[in-house]
Subunit: 548 residues, 2 copies
């Protein structure tokens, strides 16, 4: 097996399982860019290993519908090709169909629900999905069996004993797998640093009800749009308190519709109102369920906090309930959003104030339970940064797995396993790809370095026009700049700079230097030096010599 993403990071999970030249891909996830990735839209695992291998792919299997497990699928289909089949649970397939629709790829994609417990044979692989619990319905672990043995990719899971849909993780089947003999376990490490057991999703509903019952004005709840059971529990609490519900934010409405059409979410007739109708109802009769729990810049809640939402104007008396924790890295954006809401005068309740959130990832006791149930011969922790992969490894050692049989890998490092042993192979090319607009490319693209440079210090463009005959200057040089802070057109410095350029050109003409690229080089250096002396900054200098 070859992890292409998800090791040494939290996100863009993607694993290649290979046997006898044939391939199953488990998950095709993405990550969201940071501000340092200037303008990049999405971050994908570098799946160039699969290029030219389209014909070898027997199936793509998706564990669940979260973006960090399915988000790269449109790009994989576009760049690599369409596999014979794409498997997943019912909601997963529904959400992925909707996503592929937006990319105009749904018609060609062979999406197929594979019920949990049903075994299918694809080439040398027997594939079976195992039902597990997570913060989205229809989460499935993937058991892949070949003639050398079985491996289980857990996907994201928790052992919730009282999940909202009444379907806890299939512990009996996991125990059977342990009895049958599991060669390799690749398990979720996201919460490997947290002791104990994650709280049950169904513990959140009563806490939400208690919290709501104390609110006198409007209630605005924010959570992950894909956490259908959470949204369901918010709706149930609203029903109990005789409040109407408005779903605000595109993904909130989309995901609820998908789940509702599949019978996974339920709401009584007449409970919903349109966002634009909110103002028509008394404050104490309304619950708004909104996107934006991570402080995303364009989300509905962020707009509300900035007084910039079409349908919802926050005011004193409103209570905003964060039924989610900030994902690591989003703390600043979430705190900014919360503080804007305080500034408006509304009240904020977070998971620090009341038990209104439960993580979807199992904690240390659950990871150990998974290890003890499935009794793997070899263990490779996945889905985690290096810190959590190491902690998961330590848990495996604690339950008695031989340290020599516990592998700490990284993206691009294949683990070769058979009945005789397991060992890392040779690193293959792996890493990250960026999506910018419609194009996919390498993060080392020179353009991205240029963006960083211009973003830091701006750009000067110097256009000079010389005669192709004798190199004489035939038009006044133009000095144009963008992104150079606190400098204005007509500033004395710009005049001085124009003089400098003219002096340079005269000197070049006198010296008989008529080669455009030499003139450009001289201008680049002279202008750069001059600008640094004046501004103590190093903007990009772009000289353009036009020969007439």
């Amino acid at each position: 097996m070859l992890p292409l993403g998800g090791l040494g990071e939290i996100g863009k999970n993607m694993t290649v399982v290979e046997f006898d030249g044939r391939i199953v891909v488990v998950d095709t996830g993405l990550m969201f860019p940071t501000a340092e990735m200037h303008g990049i839209d999405l971050v994908l695992p570098d799946f160039s290993y699969l290029r030219d291998r389209a014909d070898d792919i027997e199936a793509i299997v998706l564990t669940h519908g979260h973006e960090d497990h399915v988000g790269a699928l449109p790009y994989v289909l576009r760049e690599i090709g369409v596999p014979p089949v794409i498997y997943g649970g019912l909601l997963t397939i529904g959400m992925v169909r909707s996503k592929l629709d937006e990319h105009k790829l749904a018609d060609s994609a062979p999406l197929q629900e594979l019920p949990a417990g049903e075994k299918v044979q694809r080439g040398p692989f027997q594939i079976e999905l195992i039902h597990l619990a997570h913060s989205i319905p229809d989460m499935r672990g993937v058991l892949i069996t070949t003639e050398v043995g079985s491996m289980l990719m857990t996907g994201d899971y928790k052992f919730d004993q009282t999940p909202v849909d009444g379907r806890p993780a299939d512990i009996p089947r996991l125990a059977e797998i342990g009895k049958e003999g599991l060669l390799l376990l690749c398990g979720d490490s996201t919460n490997a640093d947290r002791p104990g057991v994650a709280p049950s999703e169904s513990s959140v509903g009563p806490a939400l009800l208690r919290t709501f019952a104390q609110c006198e004005g409007r209630i605005i709840v924010t959570s992950f749009a894909s956490n259908i059971h959470r949204v369901q529990q918010v709706i149930d609490a609203a029903v109990a308190l005789d409040r109407k519900v408005a779903l605000v934010g595109r993904s909130m409405r989309k995901n609820f519709n998908i789940a509702s059409n599949l019978g996974i979410a339920k709401a009584p007739q007449g409970i919903f109102i349109q966002p634009r109708e909110i103002e028509n109802f008394p404050d104490e009769k309304v619950v708004v369920i909104s996107t934006g729990s991570q402080g995303e810049p364009l989300s509905a809640l962020r707009r509300m906090a900035n007084n910039d939402h079409r349908d919802v104007q926050l005011h004193a008396g409103d209570t905003v309930v964060f039924s989610a924790n900030p994902v690591p890295g989003n703390e600043r954006a979430v705190n900014e959003t919360i503080d804007r809401i305080y500034e408006i005068g509304a009240t904020v309740i977070t998971a620090q104030d009341a038990p209104i959130h439960a993580s979807g990832h199992g904690q240390q006791e659950e990871l150990k339970l998974m290890l003890n149930l499935t009794k793997p011969r070899y263990v490779l922790p996945i889905h985690g940064d290096h810190q959590r992969l190491r902690k998961h490894s330590e848990l495996a050692a604690e339950v008695g797995i031989d340290r020599a049989d516990i592998f700490r890998g990284h993206n691009g490092l294949p683990l070769e396993v058979d009945q005789n042993g397991a060992a890392f192979g040779e690193d293959i090319h792996s890493g990250t790809m960026y999506v910018d607009g419609v194009n996919i490319g390498d993060p080392d693209d020179a353009a991205l370095r240029d963006r960083r440079d211009i973003a830091a210090d701006g750009i000067f463009i110097v256009v000079v026009t010389i005669s192709g005959d004798d190199g004489s200057v035939v038009a006044d040089p133009e000095v144009i700049f963008r992104g150079v802070a606190f400098l204005e057109e007509g500033d004395a410095m710009v005049d001085d700079l124009s003089d400098l350029v003219e002096d340079q050109l005269e000197a070049a003409a006198k010296a008989g230097n008529r080669e455009s690229h030499l003139i450009e080089e001289d201008l680049h250096d002279a202008v750069g030096k001059f600008v640094y002396q004046r501004l103590k900054r190093r903007p990009m200098i772009l000289p353009v010599v036009i020969e007439v």
Copy 2:
């Protein structure tokens, strides 16, 4: 009093105290920029209120030497002018002198230590510094008395009963102030959301010693360079374990030297080794104290984590001790640093693993104690985001202060107080200034918008050269681009774009359009539309028409 910074934010604290046309300025702090502020070096409070008021300023008083309280001083002196006197505690003055030296301003600045408890008269103001405890020595509250009464600006404080230097906050004097009658209390709100009492700084030393004693290899400790008592405790632990100490990072060495010269920090002869000597000592005989506790990109520890430090190469067996918590907003950078260290195979110990950090800001019980001791008539919480200002207001109400006497302000909103009452005045111009290189300017500067735009999508520059006589094209158009992702010189799109430009110019010539700015407008729109169709991005389009 008029807060220019520090309300609705954590950082850039600055307050103007005005009476009878005369002014005392308390603190001149700065903030550090976020990634969204493309290339900006520093963020200052907008102190343009003080412009043309230089002659009215009686004194600048600095509570302590942290950047968020003194960092803007060089810019205030440069832009506003030099006041008759700048007061502070011993270490504060020492650190500020070193800072002003770097700006070549130390000679002209009238820096003066004002011992705690000593009263000085400056114009209509009696000024007294009150000793308090914080995460830097020589922290002082500022009591300012005029004929209408007294106000106390607390600065940052905690009621540490066992501070490392044996000098707890001057509670007797605070109690006297309460007896004498305090008109207005402006108190630190940083930890207004935390119940209880902050742990004592001196509780950290024994925890560090216990932690170090379990380390078999090298120990690398990171903390704030200005936390002299923390650095002292690390040195003491190293001495106890017979390890040598290397100070790594410019500010770590600078601050320790200042404190050492003032007799505030002490180390036995021969304990220090140079960073370049580290490799000459056995791993178990070395403690490195390093900057970088906040994951700062250029800090020593970040370089070590990226295998890019001249003197220290991390390896398995090393233990990196984070004796600091991430400041809100720095979580991602700190987590990235920690994960790189895990990847290298070294061990990380943070304040989650052992009590090796203590906040320098008092928590709820301490804020209530300050309120009860000083018995202010009016309260204005400062130093906090809106959430913490509100929580601090609630604490004031809890100890019995009338809600009508508790004010929740914002930057630029003056509070006018005398014996007859207190009320907010009219908002004055306030906000934020940016430092970019040597210049100071407005965040709304067009250049910063340009940086954002170019950083997101790049820039196309189209240079066309036309005859001044008849508008005919006299040289091939040049299409240059920078920061446009995944596009290359010689790409078919660039050729197509050149053709488009030529077509546009021909059409313009035919239509008799010879005005440069009209041609530029047409080119801008046509090129922008073409690029969007191809790339689904909107880079900046910069047409340049040269007339020969």
